[in-house]
């Protein structure tokens, strides 16, 4: 069948298998030339596609144990983060680190070493991972952790599934008093004001900014910086404190068809961004927001990826080191504004320090932009690639669908080491994805 990532580009003919047990999985793995595991298909590009054999983990999705005192959950790789929230939030537990969608699997979160709005304080997903069970090229299952085969552990977090098939893992949840978030919004009229807001508010548990990438000149980089804290029981009005984990069922909107590509043009995107900024700038008070709207605003629009039309879209996400951030971001935003293909959704986020083998984050600022796929945006993206190289940034492989092997190596010196580790462990022949082929990993 034809497979793609969340961005619906590229579309690749691939054989898929959905093993129901470890033994099933081993049989398939050993009988195929090469394989890649696939969770819920939320990586944007071709990370979880192998034409020969794509192994879906959706049937390997059982929760195995939970420790009430430490908050440690052991679960199979196909369990969704949303399932974890549904099961454990009513008992006062929430994921330690969560990306912007709850529709990712545990295995996917580990493979991409995803980050959340608390990265500047608490780091990436690896922070909450105690150990991982992974099936290697020989079909044997190995356990790796902070003190057991540390090398495999480090390369599996951020290794994009190229170090084996993640079977199960132990993660720690955080204890929370309610399902509510105290949200505060700061309107920043330009980029340096936004960066300053992040630095001033670095003690906030969660912070993220929506950035208007259509704005130019003196408005360049104007943003709404959104801060959040888990609300304590004492901070809730009595009506909410009675049932602190209760949430009204929200209406879900589903996009039933592909929008025609004319729908997204420079005028509609600019108008949307303008309205969003102006209305956001008025709501700078502290307000209580439920966890779903706070962490997963886009999840309430199912299939939102169809807004970008039939050809799909690509997300451009890079990170710049702290000292290069302002210059790098300015260069990117100027290029995007002058090209006139603004992105509907643009997100800016401060990362804290991180030192890991092949994960995306590093201390600095990350910017994510969405573009519908067309000749113009692909040309723009190549220009942006060069800016990332010039300012010593790097790319998020979970979002990538198009950079070249040369660009990867020009931005990430760790790539060659990753390849040699894969070779030394006999993983490179067995585990491969369309992305790994493109990037020669």
């Amino acid at each position: 069948m034809k497979l793609s990532g969340w961005g619906r580009y590229p579309l690749i003919e691939a054989s898929t298998y959905a093993p129901r047990s470890e033994d099933d999985l081993r049989d398939i793995l050993l009988s195929k030339k090469s394989v890649i595991a696939r969770g819920n298909g939320r990586a944007y590009g071709d990370s979880a596609i192998n034409a020969d054999a794509t192994l879906e983990t959706r049937c390997l999705n059982r929760m195995i144990s939970f420790d009430q005192t430490s908050g440690q959950l052991v679960a199979e790789a196909g369990v969704l983060l949303g399932d974890i929230v549904a099961a454990f939030l009513p008992r006062g537990w929430f994921p330690m680190v969560t990306p912007g969608t709850k529709f990712v699997t545990l295995g996917g979160a580990i493979a991409a070493d995803v980050h959340g709005k608390n990265h500047h304080k608490e780091g990436s997903f690896r922070t909450c991972v105690d150990w991982i069970d992974i099936m290697g090229s020989d079909g044997e299952v190995h356990r790796c952790s902070w003190d057991e085969d540390r090398d495999l552990f480090d390369y599996t977090l951020g290794g994009m599934g190229l170090t084996g098939v993640i079977l199960r893992a132990a993660i720690r949840l955080r204890s929370v008093e309610s399902g509510w978030m105290r949200q505060r919004t700061i309107a920043a009229p330009n980029l340096s004001a936004a960066l300053e807001a992040f630095e001033v508010e670095k003690n906030a548990t969660y912070s993220v900014a929506w950035i208007d990438c259509c704005a130019s000149n003196r408005n360049l980089g104007r943003s709404l910086v959104i801060l959040g804290e888990h609300a304590k029981l004492s901070e809730l009005p009595s009506s909410k404190a009675k049932e602190p984990f209760h949430k009204k069922t929200k209406w879900k909107i589903s996009i039933p068809f592909d929008f025609p590509s004319i729908f997204l043009n420079r005028f509609s995107v600019r108008a949307f961004n303008n309205i969003y900024y102006q209305s956001g700038a008025k709501k700078i008070d502290v307000r209580l927001v439920d966890w779903d709207s706070y962490f997963y605003p886009l999840d309430s629009v199912l299939n939102w990826n169809r807004i970008y039309g039939r050809k799909g879209f690509s997300q451009f996400q890079c990170v710049f080191p702290l000292e290069q951030s302002e210059a790098g971001l300015t260069a990117i935003l100027e290029e995007v504004a002058s090209a006139g293909c603004g992105s509907f959704l643009a997100v800016l986020k401060r990362f804290g320090p991180q030192d890991s083998s092949f994960s995306f984050p590093m201390e600095g600022y990350t910017l994510a932009l969405d573009f519908p796929i067309n000749d113009k945006t692909l040309r723009l993206a190549e220009k942006l690639d060069q800016i990332v190289i010039d300012f010593k940034g790097r790319f998020y492989l979970a979002k990538d669908s198009r950079i070249s092997a040369q660009t990867l190596r020009a931005t990430d010196v760790r790539a060659d080491k990753f390849c040699s580790v894969r070779n030394a462990r006999g993983l490179s022949t067995r585990f491969a994805s369309a992305q790994a082929d493109r990037l020669v990993l």
Binding site: R62, M63, I64, S65, F66, D83, A86, A87, P90, R91
Partner: protein, 229 residues
């Protein structure tokens, strides 16, 4: 299993019964962790008819809703050649399920409440060359459920007949099924839970199967016997 998940998510305690029930330990833990309900495992063999009385007596607590999801697709060609194969298909899809629901029905009748759910199949709506052994067993089971419903209707016990089309389960794994006509087990589970609440009698999942069955049943036999469908 999807039905167990759905009912557990609504807060019902779950009793899982199967052959080799211990192989369901991981599923038991999974459901308990996810929905914070009690799950118990019970050894059950649908084909061992003489054990069914003891099985129900040994459940401890008689369930409010009993779902029978027993079935064996089998191989039509082998069933034509080997009467043992044919017999196993008929016993697995008709005799066994009818027997256990019959025993449960008597217990429910004594208590005066309960819902019995039988998962039959659209294959039982008309016999076709490609799977009529399976289809005829399901047809028998569907008729059994209809009769049971008739018998218990005034006694406070509800009987739900579920007629799924293609469902992506272990049974259909490896078959080349049309994607648009294939439903996920979770959808069947949703439909069953909804039908239990609404006291529906017969449901098709997905609904397009009602139309397909409607048409297939109305094709004149003279024509039908020449078709390859």
């Amino acid at each position: 299993m999807a039905v167990a998940h759905k009912l557990a998510s609504m807060g019902h305690p779950i009793q899982l019964a199967a052959r080799g029930a211990n192989s369901l330990l991981a599923d038991k833990t999974n459901i308990e962790l996810r929905y914070n309900v009690t799950v118990t495992l019970h050894e059950f063999d649908a084909l061992a008819l003489d054990t069914h009385d003891a099985f129900v007596a040994g459940l401890g607590e008689l369930p409010q809703i009993a779902v029978c999801a027993v079935g064996l697709l089998g191989d039509q060609y082998q069933a034509e050649q080997d009467v043992q194969v044919a017999s196993l298909i008929v016993r697995s899809n008709f005799e066994g399920p009818a027997s256990i629901l019959g025993v449960l029905a008597n217990h429910f009748e004594k208590r005066g409440s309960g819902i019995l759910v039988g998962i039959s199949s659209v294959a039982g709506e008309r016999g076709r060359a490609t799977n009529y052994v399976y289809g005829s067993a399901k047809a028998g089971f569907t008729a059994f459920l209809s009769g049971l419903r008739n018998r218990l209707a005034r006694k406070g016990i509800h009987v739900l007949t579920v007629l799924p089309g293609f469902v992506a389960t272990r049974m259909t794994e490896g078959l080349d099924l049309p994607a648009t006509l294939t439903t996920q087990p979770s959808r069947v589970a949703e439909a069953i839970a909804h039908a239990c609440k609404r006291k529906k009698n017969v449901i098709y999942v997905g609904r397009v199967w009602w139309l397909i069955t409607f048409v297939i049943r109305r094709i004149p036999e003279a024509l039908f016997k020449r078709l390859r469908i």
